[in-house]
Amino acid sequence: MMTNFQCKSIPALAGVGLKPQHFQSILAQNSHVSWFEIHAENYMSAGGPFHHYLQLIRDKYPLSIHGVGLSLGSFDGLCQRQLDELKVLIDRYEPGLVSEHLSWSRHGHNNLNDLLPMPYTDESLSTFVSNISSAQDFLNKQILIENPSSYFELNYNKYSEDEFLVAVAKQSGCQILLDINNVYVSAKNHGFDAKSYIDNIPSSLIGEIHLAGHSVQSLLSGEIRIDDHGSMVCDEVWALYQYTLDKVGTKPTLIEWDTNVPDWQVLSSQARIAHQHLTSHSQEALS
């Protein structure tokens, strides 16, 4: 079937992560949501309702494809089957952006289904640069790499995460997907300054921003923040988002909500808040 893919590139406006429970609502009404993002692995199938609705939504909106399983940090390189299936999806839907993570999830043939932390060493740096370069060559597309949230740091890290992320991007030619919630969560969990992390990422490298909710759990006498994408974006993260926009200018911004997924109205109202941040920032820049 030939499709007229309009508005392919992702605008510097608010998008949301696409969930099957919202397919009908999205198609039934207009909202402040300007684009959608899918998790690549959820669409690595031949057909059926998921593809039917994704196609209808793609006909109306720009789409971003966000992988969670490429495991760019694996010491033994990339899984060709995973790359092949990602390529099929990219060819089928012509996304405006393709992104992955600064993490690993596969060891040998085992896929651990989580975004696992990396040591920030020279060996890890060359592993990422090699794997990202291979992926970009194979996909014939620049990709974006997202900073993870993490619950431990390694004591033999040579680089801080922001230094490492920027080095990976510069050496591989990829862009950065800056997840503000992840910066905030990791900053709280490890005791670094979230604003200086953001200050250290050059604006020209940032192609997209993510926002999400997280939870707080007690950890002995202290607390730890868990990036569970299961609630509204908290006030502190909204404030850090505004700080980021002031620093780097407007960027395509995605609201992620993956667990305890709410009604469409609740999710799209989060997008409306991001939309207001972006449009008021643009107006201020003009005045």
Binding site: E41, N42, H109, L112, E153
Partner: protein, 276 residues
Amino acid sequence: MASLNLQQFQQLMNDNLLSSQLDSSSDELMALFNNKQSNDESNEEANLRLAIYRNNVIHSLSSAMGDLYPVVKKLIGEGCFNAAAIEFVRNKPPQHAALLHYGREFCHFIGEFEPCKTLTFLPDVALLEFEYNQAYHSGDAHPFSPHSLGSVPPDELGHVTFTCHPSLRLMRSQWPIDDIWHENQKEQPSVINLDESNGVCLLVYRLGLTMQLVSLDENCFVLLEHLTQSNTINQSWSQVVEAANKQQRQLDAEELSGMLGYLFSLDIFTTFEVNV
């Protein structure tokens, strides 16, 4: 300060995230954590930080099993299901990042899982759920119109073969797994007396966006089994006759056209070819 190369670190993480218990290798891993506290709590804290990842891995994968096998979960209860799913996930972690095709071996596993061994129908119910989900995500195709067979000369009709919809799955069970499946979609399932039930021959497929679960009689099922293997109508029918004779089932030669008509009405065929 001790450090590991990337391969050693990822091996250690893999082993620790999938193991049921922490051991000396966990101590080796946790010794690499950047502990901000130098008090007695640092070991316990490292343990809790590692536990977040251990829990994420096992919980996300066992939840995926629960989403894939809701009827099995309902039949054996959440506690028993979670125990089975966690043991399965630890023993058979996904071999591919896309979980859409993960978990088929759970059908066999649940039959061997000690607390469920007496529920001998469980593996077939699980397989029905797995195939149902596979059919849901399988490729798209339009059913053919039986009228188009009108172009085939009558003496060549017996040489026709069919292509089936990519979602079509055939299943045979000695248990009434379709009734079990249907009842357990309800809030309050009725009791099914397994002693008074017969086996079933089932088709699972997707028609457009809608899933179909259809029960066929044995003769019609055998006919379809052979048609799905690219046998002609004539070849498939002779297999039906042979099977019916062997199992002393009643079969009338005139039943063929009725069976074909019924199969056509299900919209499971997408193309046909005349093989002369």
